[in-house]
């Protein structure tokens, strides 16, 4: 009997603690959107329909939320730049028709937002945009005016569902090395403990998504390879018409001398691309990139 009582007490306390924590952790407004990324293969001239689900995980009804299209572009660093719909050259924002621009979702329930898109006949390769899903905050007003300076900040949440539409027509996978520099890392860099870093730029000159990978070699002027590092654009894709720069640490303590940094990349095209630059390990002055293509054979 004592065991039973102890079990009851322990279980009761555990449930109370969990429920208390859950209630305290629950924000006033909380929702999620799935999926956060939509990748669709499409044919020119065809129409398609798909959807996203808005899940209100909060304790209040989500009222007057908004769904809308916004374009995005990528800086070479990978940073997203938000644009108005239609401002990006390969935007598919104009192809999309949303079934609704506003939504209400009761607490604890889900709502589906459907959208259709029509692919133009002359489209080929990759196009992209964001479907934005934004809550509607209740603005927090400072207390009534009394001749004093008051301020209040209200928060709102927004999800950017990244949309890629890959039109399977006239696909051209092409790219080139656009820059290669060797330098010392900044004190704030994630590679601050590495003796040197290489910044490798890859430019997508085709019309499809590329995720190149390859190798960086450090060679003596006599041609002897003294250090090798893998180069990967995994999760750092390069969209058509854009450059993407990745940073690779060079984990080698080089004696003061002149060296050659050589990069060979495979982006899935007919040929490999390569480029090289020379640098002095003491002053780290890098010469201009010399780029070229290499046959796969």
């Amino acid at each position: 009997m004592r065991l039973m009582n102890n079990l009851k007490k322990a279980a009761g306390a555990a449930i109370a603690a969990i429920m208390f924590a859950a209630l305290n952790a629950a924000p006033l407004t909380a929702f999620s959107v799935l999926p956060m990324k939509i990748e669709l293969n499409a044919a020119p001239g065809a129409s398609y329909t798909t959807s996203i689900v808005i899940d209100n995980t909060g304790s209040d009804e989500l009222q007057m939320g908004r769904v809308y299209i916004q374009d995005w572009d990528k800086q070479p660093s990978g940073k997203d730049v938000y644009r108005e719909s239609g401002e990006v050259d390969r935007s598919c924002g104009g192809w999309i028709t949303l079934s609704q621009s506003q939504f209400n979702v009761p607490a604890g329930e889900k709502a589906e937002a459907r959208f259709s898109f029509s692919v133009p006949q002359d489209a080929s390769g990759l196009y992209w945009t964001f479907i934005m899903v934004e809550g509607m905050p209740t603005p927090q007003k400072p207390s009534a005016e009394d001749g004093r300076f008051k301020a209040a900040i209200t928060t709102n949440m927004r999800y950017g569902v990244r949309v890629f539409i890959n039109v399977k027509s006239g696909i051209a996978a092409r790219g080139e090395l656009s820059s290669l520099t060797v330098s010392r890392p900044d004190a704030q860099s994630e590679f601050k403990d590495s003796p040197l870093i290489a910044n490798i730029g890859f430019f997508n000159t085709g019309n499809t998504l590329l995720t190149p990978h390859g190798v960086l070699e450090v060679r003596t002027l006599a041609g002897k390879t003294i250090h090798t590092e893998a180069v990967s654009y995994e999760k750092k894709y390069v969209i058509p018409g854009r450059e993407r720069i990745v940073t690779v640490p060079i984990e080698a303590r080089l004696a003061p001398d002149e060296y050659v940094a050589l990069v060979i990349m495979d982006y899935g095209g007919e040929k490999l691309v390569a480029g090289q630059t020379s640098f002095t390990s003491k002053n780290i002055s890098t010469t201009a990139l010399t780029g070229y293509e290499i046959d796969r054979k």
Binding site: L3, M4, L7, K8, A11, A14, I15, I18, P27, L28, T29, A30, F31, S32, V33, L34, M36, K37, D55, T57, G78, K79, D80, Y82, F130, M132, E134, P137, T138, P139, Q140, K141, P142, S143, A144, E145, G147, R148, F149, K150, A151, A152, I153, T154, T155, N156, M157, R158, Y159, G160, R162, K235, Y237
Partner: protein, 156 residues
Amino acid sequence: MIKSNQIRFIMTMTIILCAMFAGAGRADFRVELESGSVAFGSLTKEDLYAGFVEAGASDGVYALRALITDDENAGWTLSVRADTAEFTSVFAQKSCEDLLWRVDGPEPYIALTQYDEPAASGAGSDYVDIDLKLLAGWGDRADSYGIVLVFTLTSD
């Protein structure tokens, strides 16, 4: 000796606890804000002489916390921007750039704009703490000011 009603009780409790944790097994991707607002309240003479008031100034103390759930390590970026170019107020005008923000820590503050600026990125579940600093001085008209901060979550 455990009796049959005790076994039933234990099983019932197990089911209840399992049900409460059922959501934990579901792959999830979302951001939740710990608080929906930050009130600076009434600024004091000292604040106005200093030219600013801060929320979360000390290291480890924050004005806002965003909790990010990324069960599948998909990777995320959380950005921040102002919803409007100016604070809403009754009589006065005040630029959104008078509100500064930073991720909690020693880094310098950044002026808030209407352009999304990445606050943090990562993979896996994490939280992002934000400090706020409001620039305000004797040149500002006494008024009630409000502005909406929009946090945007994206994934690559």
